[in-house]
């Protein structure tokens, strides 16, 4: 050591130090303990998942770990038992065995038992000391504290888990193979217990079939390499992680507290998820499918015959023509009825019937294709109230049937609007019922156009993502814009992500357009009346607040796709 400034040192020679310790047993014990903690901290920083720990967290963790001695032949963990600790082998050798088969021998520096620590699963192997061993015991609370230190200890532990685990398919999951419009073969998995769906590429399907609970990531990667001639450990790992997170693998799911700890850093994601819960609130009615199946078999199926469909098409087309032809004269005929309260007593239940017919269109078309409708209900979706049915089971069907189901609600709506327009034509021109029929038809056509907008997650959106064969198009586009666009710009190529780029940019443009439209409508219809009540400055400021509010909510609805 070289002094870089003038300094004063105090010295204590070895003999004096030994005498001091001999006369102060407590001091000796404290110093020994401190030295041991420093040695353990140094050891920790050499063990793979903990190398990124800074000195202070490593010392804190070292102080918390229990030390354990194991005699040769002793079982340290036993297969099938629950456990909430993992072990760091400090000295000695251990043998790992499962189902009577020896899997590996581990030496000093190895970590084992992490699976039970990170997941709800019982111990998946027995670990036995091959010689006298010294171990460090890490309990879940110690790991959670280390994960909270801001380093990537948690993700490295999860990486270790993924490397060693032998993933298995969840029982009861059904698979449906189909060809896409690009003549690619994909497989859709369905877990009927929830229900949940997962799309697999040809390569993903290859892996899925290998997930028998006997192969590790290493073995899967080798088989993948042999089949597809590509070294793809990250791809294999990503597919397994996605399947695990989606609940399609048996066991191996990370515990809630571990997941929470891993995602604790992204506070904005947690905030967006909370916002989404409020802005996409739904009240679901489950157990609809048996009722819909009975109704479909008992009569609705006749509407799905060729004759039934031809009749419905004639009504929809004739009604639209009649509505368009009478549009110019209708305004004058309505003039005397706007202030009549009876008009609203007719229109409100009619509007509710319109919603029911729209959703029935989706639901019965799902039944016509032999699929299930597990639930339906009402709720709120960002800008207004909604009614809905869950048509997720159509993920198992081909592109044509999926588009048909997405557009069936609008088609049912067009038929109802056509009936209303025809009724308006047949009723006495100046009557209240004629006026109500015309307004009803207008409302149905207008909401149909709104629901066709593919930039919002309504019927038009699902039809577009099916047409493009791009499931999760909105989320995919937003994530691609946020994460991959800079790289694509640098590389100067889109690598087949043109649809994501176009949709993402259009969604952003729509946000600006919707905000401008809100401002324009405010100025046309609200600014004048509000200026009479408030000052002009206050009414004007309110208008800008409306524009900002619409822009904020629209951007928030896009940003929440990043939160997962």
């Amino acid at each position: 050591m070289t002094a870089t400034t003038t300094l004063v040192t105090l010295t204590l020679n070895a003999a004096a130090f030994d005498r001091l310790l001999a006369s102060n047993p407590n001091l000796k014990a404290a110093l020994e303990e401190n030295a041991e903690i420093l040695r353990i901290a140094k050891f920790l920083k050499q063990a793979t998942p903990f190398t990124a720990l800074d000195a202070a967290p490593a010392r804190r963790l070292a102080a918390r770990l229990q030390r354990l001695q194991a005699e040769a032949g002793a079982a340290i963990v036993t297969e099938g038992q629950a456990g909430d600790a993992c072990y760091l082998l400090r000295r000695g050798r251990v043998e790992v065995a499962a189902e009577g088969r020896t899997l590996a021998a581990l030496e000093a520096g190895a970590v084992f038992g992490e699976a039970a620590l990170l997941t709800e699963a019982p111990r998946n192997a027995t670990v036995r000391a091959l010689e006298p061993c010294e171990l460090l015991v890490m309990r879940r609370r110690d790991l959670l504290e280390a994960m909270g230190s801001g380093t990537d200890v948690g993700s490295r532990m999860v990486g270790l888990l993924r490397l060693r685990e032998r993933p298995a398919r969840k029982p009861g999951v059904v698979a449906q193979e189909r060809a896409t419009a690009d003549h690619d073969v994909i497989v859709t998995l369905k877990d009927p217990a929830r229900p949940a769906y997962f799309r697999l590429s040809r390569q993903g399907w290859f892996l899925w079939q290998k997930l028998d609970g006997r192969r590790t990531l290493r073995e899967l990667t080798l088989e993948f390499m042999a089949a597809f001639k590509v070294f793809a450990p990250q791809t294999v790992s990503d597919v397994l992680i996605s399947l695990s997170e989606a609940g399609f693998l048996d066991g191996g799911r990370l515990r809630g507290d571990i997941l929470h700890s891993l995602s604790r850093a992204s506070w904005w994601q947690a905030a967006l998820i909370r916002v989404r819960r409020v802005m996409e609130w739904r009240l679901s009615l489950h157990g609809l499918d048996p009722v819909l199946t009975r109704l479909y078999r008992d009569g609705v199926c006749r509407l799905y015959t060729r004759t039934g469909q031809a009749a419905l098409a004639v009504i929809a087309a004739a009604g639209l023509l009649v509505f368009a032809a009478g549009a110019s004269s209708a305004r004058a005929a309505l003039a005397g009825h706007w202030s009549n309260p009876t008009l609203w007593f007719i229109l409100i239940p009619a509007a509710i019937a319109g919603v029911l017919i729209h959703e029935s269109g989706h639901a019965f078309t799902v039944k016509a294709f032999g699929r299930e409708v597990p639930s339906g209900g009402v709720g709120w979706y960002w800008f207004g109230p909604i009614a809905f049915v869950d048509t997720s089971d159509m993920w198992l069907a081909g592109r044509g049937p999926r588009i048909a189901v997405s557009l069936a609600g609008l088609y049912a709506q067009a038929i109802l609007a056509g009936l209303a327009a025809l009724a308006c034509r047949l009723l006495p021109p100046a009557s209240l019922l004629a006026a109500a029929s015309w307004i009803f038809a207008l409302g149905l056509y207008a909401t149909a156009l709104f629901n066709l907008n593919p930039l919002l997650e309504y019927d038009g959106y699902y039809a577009l993502e099916d047409l493009l064969e791009r499931p999760n198009l909105r989320r995919r586009s937003v994530r691609w814009l946020a994460r991959d666009l800079p790289r694509a710009l640098r590389a100067g190529r889109l690598d087949g992500h043109g649809a994501e780029l176009a949709y993402g940019l259009l969604a952003l443009t729509y946000t600006a357009a919707a905000s401008a439209l809100a401002g324009m409508l405010y100025r046309m219809f609200a600014l004048g009346p509000l200026s009479q009540v408030l000052s002009f400055r206050a009414a004007d400021a309110l208008g800008w607040a409306v524009v900002a509010g619409v822009a904020f909510i629209s951007l928030l609805s896009l940003a929440q796709e990043l939160a997962g």
Binding site: L163, R218, K229, F231, V239, H362, F383, A387, S392
Partner: protein
């Protein structure tokens, strides 16, 4: 195919971010640096590191009617 050699690369890939970054840039050099000897077929496979797959959980299809 050498099980041990490629298996060692998988272990390194999962546990060593430095190896991962290098393997993405120059997989052959990364394998050489790791002391792994590969045959021609394995080297070819290593040259096309990873794929971008479309495997994903499908979001629920909620057919909504804005009313």
């Amino acid at each position: 195919m050498s099980y041990e050699a490629v298996g060692k690369l998988v272990d390194l890939w999962m546990s060593d971010p430095g190896f991962r970054a290098q393997a993405k840039k120059d997989p052959r050099a990364a394998a050489r640096k790791a002391g792994v000897e590969l045959n021609d077929e394995e080297l070819t496979a290593l040259s096309s590191v990873d794929l971008s797959l479309s495997d994903e959980q499908l979001q629920a299809r909620i057919s909504k009617f804005f009313s």
